[in-house]
């Protein structure tokens, strides 16, 4: 056994009294001692000791990649720690699979929902703990049980609906029900607010508090300072796999937290100076509709315009037509009605290829699925789309590897892509660097119109800052930018105008400096009666 002090001195932390205090009260339910997890190339957790009291809401704060998820996966039995111990209700335990963790009363709501989309709510909730007789599932009983629990905790959801037809908020609800169904006493929520509207976040917090009042102990993993301040009672801060601080919320300020999390002061404010007055719009969408196969509209008569040097934000809950909008702009989906014009030219009849040639650049939301060919090299990913253009191709379709390499190396420097070589595969890069490869490709085309769909999804603060600054640079250069994001923070940080999308319609247009995130959130959930666009002006 490796010697490890249960309460290591944290960097710059003198408030050790809380720990001892908590221990003295004698109600810790879960404790980790010196958990270390070594992955082949990364030390993900380095001697982490935390303590959870019964019936409290605890936050674990840290950037992406700080090791929060690894720690939780260890607690949940998905990973085994390289060393260290876990103590549950005073007894040392070791989980060899999630099954053990679930039996011991742990429940987890993953950031990426662990729901099977083609199955119903009930099937998902009971999965793995099915009420059954001789292996045959008793669906009647299951449904009854699900309804009972959702009644008890006030988490209403239709038990017969398929997951793929539910909103994100409801899906999360199913995830929580899933844990409660297994009698979870400790509930771990991994980045629970990542895709929720402010209203949904509030609702979630209400649920969390209600759960706490019923005796459930809760761990929230997040990188959002505001949430930590709003919901939790105590917080641990992780940085690069190590505990960098902990404390009672009431004793801490936001700035202190930020400092402990990043190791420096963070300013998530971008200088939003425009370049003079508004110019004539270059990009128009009019009356754009995309219908589902069944007939109901995915996009319903969307109308918008973007001017050079302007960033227009599209705010909305996931699944309200954002992806169809970007697909329609890029020509990846058949549109049923409407027009898209760039520089006065109708582009809705053009192929994707021709649209790119007209000066559209696109950063897709799912970089691994739509943005990159992971198996191909970084240099190939940088020039893909222009792989058949000079100077990357000689006559007769022969590829000029030397030019490609030269160009990719230059962009790798320009966009700060950290890699030993541009000839390694894109799969070997971290998420932030992968996103930079996409930016390098798209921004270097000097687009007239730039479509960004969640450009910073899942990235850490440093990368977000960098990408935001590059976006502002494009704005300065006069690109017309349409920004689709699920993170209101990002919309507010970058855009000049905000369009709210709800069920395939643009329900509101708002000026960033004249509105609040709460108001936008209201429209995002269809909260107010769908007004005409002119109301906002």
């Amino acid at each position: 056994m490796i010697e490890c002090c249960p309460y290591p001195p944290y960097e710059g932390n003198e408030k050790r009294g809380i720990m001892e205090e908590a221990l003295e009260t004698g109600r810790p339910i879960l404790e980790t001692r010196c958990i270390t997890k070594q992955f082949p190339r990364v030390l993900a957790n380095d001697e982490i000791s935390i303590l959870l009291n019964k019936g409290e809401i605890l936050s674990i704060l840290g950037e992406n990649g700080a090791g929060k998820s690894t720690l939780m996966n260890i607690l949940y039995g998905l990973y085994r720690p390289t060393s260290g111990e876990i103590i549950l209700k005073g007894k040392e335990i070791s989980f060899s699979s999630p099954r053990d963790a679930i039996r011991a009363g742990l429940g987890m709501v993953h950031q990426h929902f662990m729901l099977v989309e083609t199955l119903t709510v009930t099937e998902n909730i009971i999965l793995g703990s099915e009420p059954s007789k001789g292996g045959v599932i008793d669906y009647q009983l299951a449904k009854k049980q699900v309804l009972e629990i959702s009644e008890l905790y006030g988490l209403h959801v239709d038990p017969d609906e398929k997951i793929e037809n539910l909103s994100v908020g409801l899906q999360q609800r199913v995830e929580i029900l899933k844990a409660l169904y297994r009698h979870a006493e400790i509930l771990i929520l991994d980045e629970p607010t990542a895709v929720l509207t402010p209203q949904e976040v509030e609702e979630l917090f209400r649920v969390i508090r209600a759960l706490r009042d019923k005796g459930v102990s809760i761990i929230i993993i997040t990188h959002k300072l505001e949430e930590v301040m709003a919901i939790s009672e105590r917080v641990y801060i992780l940085r690069r796999g190590k505990l960098s601080g902990e404390g009672d919320i009431k004793d801490l300020t936001k700035e202190e937290l930020a400092n402990m999390m990043v190791g420096r002061d963070v300013v998530l404010r971008v200088d939003k100076k425009g370049n003079g007055k508004k110019k004539e719009a270059v990009f128009f969408i009019e009356d754009l509709s995309v219908l589902k196969k069944g007939g109901n509209a995915l996009l319903d008569s969307v109308k918008l315009d973007v001017s050079p040097g302007e960033i227009v934000g599209i705010a909305g809950v996931d699944g309200n037509g954002q992806s169809e909008l970007s697909q329609a702009v890029m020509g990846l989906v058949k549109i049923d009605k409407g027009s898209i014009r760039l520089n006065g030219k109708e582009i809705s009849t053009l192929s994707t290829r021709e649209r790119i040639d007209e000066g559209i650049s696109f950063v897709p939301s799912d970089r691994q699925r739509d943005g990159l060919v992971l198996e191909m090299s970084i240099s190939d990913n940088i020039i893909i789309g222009r792989h058949d253009r000079k100077p990357f191709v000689r006559s007769a379709g022969r590829i000029n590897h030397r030019e490609i390499r030269k160009y990719a190396e230059k962009l790798a420097v320009d966009f700060d892509i950290r890699t030993p070589s541009v000839s390694v595969s894109a799969a070997s890069l971290s998420g932030g660097n992968q996103q930079k490869v996409i930016l390098a490709r798209e921004f270097s085309r000097s687009p007239v119109f730039l479509l960004l769909n969640q450009p910073t999804r899942g990235l850490d603060v440093g990368a977000i800052e960098y990408i935001h600054s590059r976006i502002m640079e494009m704005k300065q250069k006069g690109a017309a930018i349409l920004l689709v994001s699920l993170e209101l923070e990002e919309i507010f940080a970058l855009s000049d105008r905000i369009l709210v999308i709800y069920e395939g319609q643009i329900v509101r247009e708002l000026k960033t400096n004249e509105t609040t995130d709460y108001e936008v959130g209201l429209y995002m959930t269809g909260g107010r009666k769908k007004g005409s666009l002119n109301d906002g002006k």
């Binding site: 082949p40 999965l127 292996g135």
Partner: protein, 317 residues
């Protein structure tokens, strides 16, 4: 001569007989692929099943033991696929292709060992075709009676399996787990069910079913094993499963369709309706399948994680 006189009950009975091995293999493949493991090894598994069924029936004189050993041999042989595709993370198609190649080598090698000569085995003393059984009353129903209720054991088993597997996938814990494993394996793993175990089980089930298909060929439909007697039926089963939309009932219907087309072409030849080379008749079921796939079968969706390798602990987090 009445032009359509071959459209009779016998045609439907023949359809069932011709489609049974395809149905069985396609059912197995359905379970396998619903759990997220692509299986193109049915041809090989069938031939192994057919061989061991015949060998056992030959040496023991008991076709039921032959049935059991053929099914079991198929199951065991399919575990190679499970080990390769699940534990060794080999591409599923590659593993299946290897199994097909191996199966022909193995049976040819063993033929000489067991029977002293290659080609075809000696005839088994008693076969399952002797156990044809007419269900009282039901077999008297016009048309459908003889088709569905006056058949041999494995054909009955195949009917039961269609219903059972459809029910099994929908209504049992294991069925639910299998469906979840093919759609979102991590979701299953995170609630404490071993995805590997479920996948192994599904592959094993598919092996049993393909083994049964093989046994049908060698000890129920006929009385001896012949090298290569599957003659591409395993691949037709693959087609049936895909055009059946990865469902038990769909696979059954697609297999019936192919069997029907095949039965029909034989009758075309018997009646010599068109004076064209025989080979054009033989082609008919294959062409009909293409037309069916092109015309009637819409894009059906495979399980989301079908053929996707599942590794829990990623190397570089």
């Amino acid at each position: 001569m009445s032009f359509l006189m071959f459209l009779n009950t016998d045609l439907l009975v023949a359809t069932v007989r011709l489609s049974t091995p395809i149905t069985l293999a396609a059912l197995g493949a359905t379970v396998c692929e619903r759990a997220g493991v692509v299986n193109i090894a049915m041809e090989g598994i069938m031939i192994i099943g057919a061989f061991f069924a015949a060998v056992t029936a030959f040496y023991t004189g008991n076709p039921w033991l032959g049935l059991a050993s053929g099914v079991l041999a198929g199951g065991i042989y399919s575990l190679i696929h499970a080990a390769a595709a699940i534990s060794l993370h080999l591409d599923h198609v590659v593993s299946g292709a290897v199994l097909n190649i191996l199966a022909f080598g193995i049976t040819r090698y063993l033929m000489v060992l067991f029977f002293g000569h290659p080609g075809t085995s000696d005839a088994i003393p008693s076969f399952l075709g002797d156990y044809q059984f007419a269900v009282p009353l039901l077999s008297k129903i016009p048309v459908l009676g003889p088709v569905f209720f006056n058949q041999t054991p494995i054909i009955y088993i195949s009917f039961i399996l269609v219903i059972f597997l459809a029910w099994f996938l929908k209504h049992t814990r294991t069925g639910l787990h299998i469906r979840a494993a093919g759609e979102h394996p991590l979701a299953l793993e995170t609630i404490g069910v071993s995805v590997y175990k479920i996948k192994y089980l599904a592959v094993f089930i598919s092996g049993l079913a393909s083994g049964l298909a093989g046994a049908y060929l060698s000890i129920e439909n006929n009385v001896s094993f012949t090298e290569g007697m599957t003659n591409g039926k395993g691949f037709i089963a693959l087609a049936a499963m895909i055009s059946g939309g990865w469902s038990a009932a769909g696979s059954f219907l697609s297999a019936l369709f192919f069997g029907f087309a095949d039965a029909l072409q034989i009758r075309f030849q018997v009646f010599r309706i068109f004076h064209v080379p025989e080979e054009l008749f033989i082609i008919f079921p294959y062409a009909a399948t293409i037309i069916a796939v092109a015309g009637f079968v819409r894009r059906s969706r495979p399980p989301k994680a079908d053929g996707v390798d599942f590794i829990i602990e990623k190397e570089n987090e």
